[in-house]
């Protein structure tokens, strides 16, 4: 089967100009591939560079080296090098990203926050709000909270809103960074279900997590990072698959 995403040689070195140009290597020579409909887990100790990988792919970080070929609906693009306009369009229509924390505008309602995840030109405001309501309902956010700003929500509720926003446009490629970090048991179960549903509908997902319990059952393969070398220990798909099978 053709891969949806192939990452090769991904390296990120930060140059800290404020510290006299000191450099910090966050990850080096990362290699992996993601097949359509697959859920890939990335595991590793804190500081191993897991978030960096996702952020480089999403272009929040500027990769120092490497490529990330993504098979978009309009042809293949290297996400690390393509024009920002392409990235913006892909973010709008094809790629979703769930951050560790929800960063919200205090005065925007949960419903709005989620609706804003939908591309404006494709969705009218009222349809977008309907869709947002449906997602919030699925994620069991009590409907009396919908009009309130998520900044007043509990951590678990906030994170569910965050996820709803990121998946509202049904991304083909979903990047999730510790999506369950702040959640209680019940919320985790809901997120797990949502991810599986997205997978069923054809999304391919890369998820970074410590939460082995939640993701053990749903990841198809796992990529392990080692803090010392900052490289992938189980590089190459056979290795990765083996890790998932253990």
């Amino acid at each position: 089967m053709v891969e949806l995403l192939r990452v090769t040689g991904l390296t990120k070195v930060f140059t800290l100009h404020l510290l006299g140009g000191r450099t910090v290597e966050a990850c080096r020579d990362i290699e992996f591939a993601l097949r359509p409909g697959e859920i890939l887990g990335i595991q590793g100790p804190s500081g191993a560079g897991k978030s960096t990988i996702l952020k480089c792919i999403y272009r929040t970080y500027v990769a120092t080296a490497g490529q990330a070929w993504y098979r978009s609906l309009r042809g293949s693009v290297d996400l690390l090098a393509c024009p920002v306009q392409t990235i913006l369009a892909l973010r709008r229509f094809e790629i979703g990203y769930v951050s560790q924390f929800l960063r919200v505008v205090p005065r925007v309602s949960a419903l709005q926050v989620v609706a804003e995840g939908l591309p404006r030109n494709e969705w009218t405001q009222s349809r977008a709000l309907q869709e947002a309501a449906r997602l919030l309902e699925h994620l069991r956010i009590p409907c009396d909270l919908w009009e309130a700003s998520p900044c007043t929500f509990s951590g678990g509720e906030q994170q569910r809103v965050n996820i709803a926003r990121a998946v509202a446009h049904r991304p083909r490629l979903l990047l999730m960074d510790e999506p369950t970090a702040s959640l209680d048991h019940e919320s985790r179960r809901l997120v797990q279900e949502l991810i599986l549903e997205l997978k069923r509908q054809g999304s391919s997902i890369v998820v970074v997590s410590h939460d082995w319990q939640t993701f053990n059952q749903i990841t198809d393969r796992v990529l392990r990072l080692d803090q010392e070398s900052k490289a992938c220990v189980t590089g190459g798909s056979q290795h990765v698959e083996a890790a998932a099978d253990h």
């Binding site: 500027v62 693009v77 699925h138 549903e197």
Partner: protein, 301 residues
């Protein structure tokens, strides 16, 4: 109850309506090498100034290079930020594009003006006035610049509509009240003088005026600077809301990175009259490349 049901749409459907491609078509506004020098200017002005020189004043002729060599593309419906410390050339940049100042050099093409084939910086004053009134809107930091404080709020909006050849008092008032409603200015203030309005309300009237002729492009220069925090928040919400609802392209100038983060997808960072870094706003904030941007971002946190 089984697994989580997502709405009837599946992924294939979501994309079937999308006819664009990952690379959108022509930009709405294309700017190349925009330069504005105050003073006589000399051959060395541009090379002797800038972020490396740490100044925008030419050491030879003492001219001020307010901005130089600024290039960017702004796409329809997009929000672009311009950030930088005060004096870095942000206002000069937008004011050149709005023809408040003449530019010393450079080109600017607007898709809706002659198909984007003609450099509008070289157009006649009359053409530029037409572009200003039909294809652009401007919201200044200082409401005195954008509003006639001795004309009513409705009169201010009417001015834009009258310029566009809308000679029907009833329809002008309909449109003005619609704009004031959108910008959350109480209708009963329509026939009052903005002189007596609060700063926040003056800004909202300015925004209504800028939107009067449905321009595809709006410039916002430090629109919240100088307002109380709670008032700032309301104005920012309004801008976000209008952007989402009307799908305008906006060029948002601010020295405040929080404003830029809240509003924009793409950002230019300016220092000493030059663009030192440009990129996705989350990248500028998350992984700034230029030493100056790193300083700017670090002082934010």
């Amino acid at each position: 109850m089984g697994g989580i049901e997502l709405s009837g749409l599946n992924i294939a459907d979501t994309f079937s309506g999308l006819q664009g491609n990952p690379v959108p078509d022509e930009p709405l506004l294309r700017v190349r090498g925009l330069t504005r020098i105050y003073g006589r200017g000399c051959a060395e002005c541009v090379v002797r100034t800038g972020p490396e020189a740490g100044s925008n004043i030419c050491p030879i002729c003492a001219s001020i290079v307010a901005c130089a060599g600024v290039s960017f593309d702004l796409y329809a419906g997009e929000m672009m930020g311009v950030v930088g410390e005060s004096g870095s050339g942000k206002s000069t940049l937008v004011q050149c594009l709005y023809f408040d100042h003449t530019s010393s050099a450079g080109e600017a093409y607007l898709k809706s003006y002659r198909g984007g084939a003609v450099n509008m910086l070289g157009s006649s004053a009359q053409e530029q006035r037409h572009i200003r009134h039909h294809l652009m809107g401007m919201v200044y930091q200082n409401p005195h610049q954008g509003l006639r404080l001795d004309c009513t709020a409705g009169g201010n909006i009417a001015e834009k509509l009258l310029t566009a050849g809308f000679f029907h008092v009833g329809r002008i008032r309909e449109r003005a009240s619609e704009l004031l409603r959108r910008t959350e200015v109480p209708m009963e203030r329509m026939d009052h003088l903005p002189r007596h309005f609060s700063g926040g309300m003056q800004q909202r009237v300015q925004i209504a005026k800028a939107l009067a002729n449905n321009p595809p492009l709006v410039f916002l220069d430090e629109v919240t600077t100088g307002l109380d925090v709670s008032v700032q928040a309301r104005v920012l919400d309004l801008i976000r809301h209008l952007h989402r609802e009307l799908g305008l392209a906006m060029l948002v100038v601010s020295h405040n990175l929080d404003v830029i983060r809240l509003l924009t997808d793409y950002t230019l960072v300016m220092k000493s009259g030059r663009v030192v870094e440009a990129g996705l706003t989350d990248q500028i904030l998350g992984d700034p490349q230029h030493p100056y941007t790193q300083l700017l971002v670090s002082s934010l946190l």
